[in-house]
């Protein structure tokens, strides 16, 4: 059912939602204008055209998971890939340190939000999936260190003691992003939270290129290069060689359990918004170590 992605006003037709959005843009309502600017187009169109564009944007061809994947690629790997992903094609010490320092906070929050999904759901396969994920992220499995531990080791290998890494507070953007995800976890259905969180794992999914992504999360040559410490390669390889269906598995659960697809779509877009901000925070942290890290 057609939905306003900002205030969730609902109607039986897109034309009405378009009229609603359009009239609010005439009043320069910041949240509605911004949504259009960031998701649809910065050039004003009439109600008729806006209605078509909204319907096209939200229409699901196949499964909801395909829509999520498509939007993720458009936003982070499309014509203008996110600058952090560009920086990861040839990351220097500053970029990797920016990654380590901000990501520790992301990972801590990650498991907390996943716990909220477990708390809210009654589905066994979802509980199991989330517990497995928490294990991998936080405790490690089969005797292998956790992602969190691998991340800290990467930081240490770049010459920053663990104690110093752990001493950093998150940058304001990281904090804002984390708050967005916490709010989603508390206020929305568990299916929406599941979709909002695990669709972010698509960022390192190497199958993404099959769906049209122009590049991988990082330049794979790093994995065999002598220019990077082993710990950097270990951390990056972990994500790279993870089961290809890692994010895919969660998206299958989203397809299986979502009842209100539009609400899931709206929440996923909010999560993408927070994620883009958060990736920029990694680069801003990097600028503290190398002022030449370029953000564009």
């Amino acid at each position: 059912m057609p939905i306003c992605p900002v205030c969730e006003y609902r109607s039986t037709e897109w034309k009405e939602v378009a009229g609603h959005l359009y009239s609010l843009t005439r009043k320069s309502d910041a949240t509605h204008v911004m949504w259009l600017n960031r998701n649809l187009t910065i050039k004003e169109v009439d109600v008729e055209k806006l209605s078509e564009m909204l319907e096209e944007f939200f229409s699901i061809r196949g499964e909801l998971s395909s829509w999520i994947r498509e939007k993720f690629i458009q936003k982070f790997y499309g014509e203008n890939p996110h600058p952090f992903i560009l920086a990861m094609q040839k990351p220097n010490r500053a970029v990797l340190l920016g990654y380590v320092i901000e990501h520790q906070h992301f990972l801590k929050n990650w498991v907390k939000v996943l716990s909220e999904i477990i708390f809210k759901t009654d589905e066994d396969d979802v509980v199991k999936y989330e517990l497995d994920n928490i294990n991998v992220e936080y405790f490690g499995y089969n005797g292998k260190p956790s992602h969190y531990e691998l991340l800290l080791r990467m930081g240490e290998s770049l010459g920053m003691p663990r104690k110093e890494i752990l001493g950093y507070s998150p940058l304001p953007s990281t904090k804002t992003a984390i708050n967005t995800w916490r709010r989603i976890a508390i206020e929305r259905d568990w299916v929406e939270t599941l979709a909002a969180m695990h669709s972010l794992e698509l960022v390192a999914d190497k199958t993404l290129r099959k769906y049209g992504a122009k590049m991988h999360y990082f330049n794979e040559a790093i994995l065999t290069s002598n220019d990077y410490p082993q710990e950097v390669k270990d951390f990056l390889r972990e994500g790279y060689e993870a089961d290809q269906s890692h994010a895919g598995e969660a998206l299958t659960l989203v397809d299986k359990y979502s009842k209100d697809e539009e609400r899931v779509q709206v929440t996923v877009l909010r999560s993408f918004d927070a994620f883009a901000k958060y990736l920029t925070a990694r680069l801003e942290r990097a600028m503290e170590f190398d002022s030449k890290v370029i953000l564009q």
């Binding site: 005439r26 910065i42 004003e44 996110h82 804002t176 920029t280 564009q296």
Partner: protein, 106 residues
């Protein structure tokens, strides 16, 4: 003030918002004696906060020209000009339209 956003002229309804280049909305504000178009009040506030920061750091009274490249997520790399002088910087705003990050870039 001559304004360029992502390669195009900006600052009126036809060309787009003085900060982001969008042509949605209908918001005007007088800045340095000029009536400028913005898509929303948030962009207007961001623009004003940005100019204030530039003036504070340079001591300029007036800005003749500003070139803005980027967007909300990535932040914006800019060149401000006044008289014969040039000032290059990177700026990013928080959700309250305040300057969150400001860095002088050579």
């Amino acid at each position: 003030m001559k304004i360029q956003v992502n390669g195009s002229k900006a600052g009126d309804k036809e060309s787009g918002c003085a900060l982001c280049g969008a042509t949605w909305g209908d918001y005007y504000e007088e800045i340095d004696g000029e009536r400028l178009f913005f898509c929303c009040d948030v962009c207007a506030t961001e623009f004003k906060n940005m100019l204030k920061e530039v003036k504070n750091r340079t001591g300029w009274k007036k800005i003749d020209e500003i070139t803005i490249n980027g967007n909300f997520y990535k932040g914006r790399t800019c060149i401000a000009k006044s008289g014969g002088n040039e000032f290059k910087f990177y700026v990013r705003f928080n959700d309250n339209a305040e300057v969150e990050t400001f860095k002088v870039t050579d």
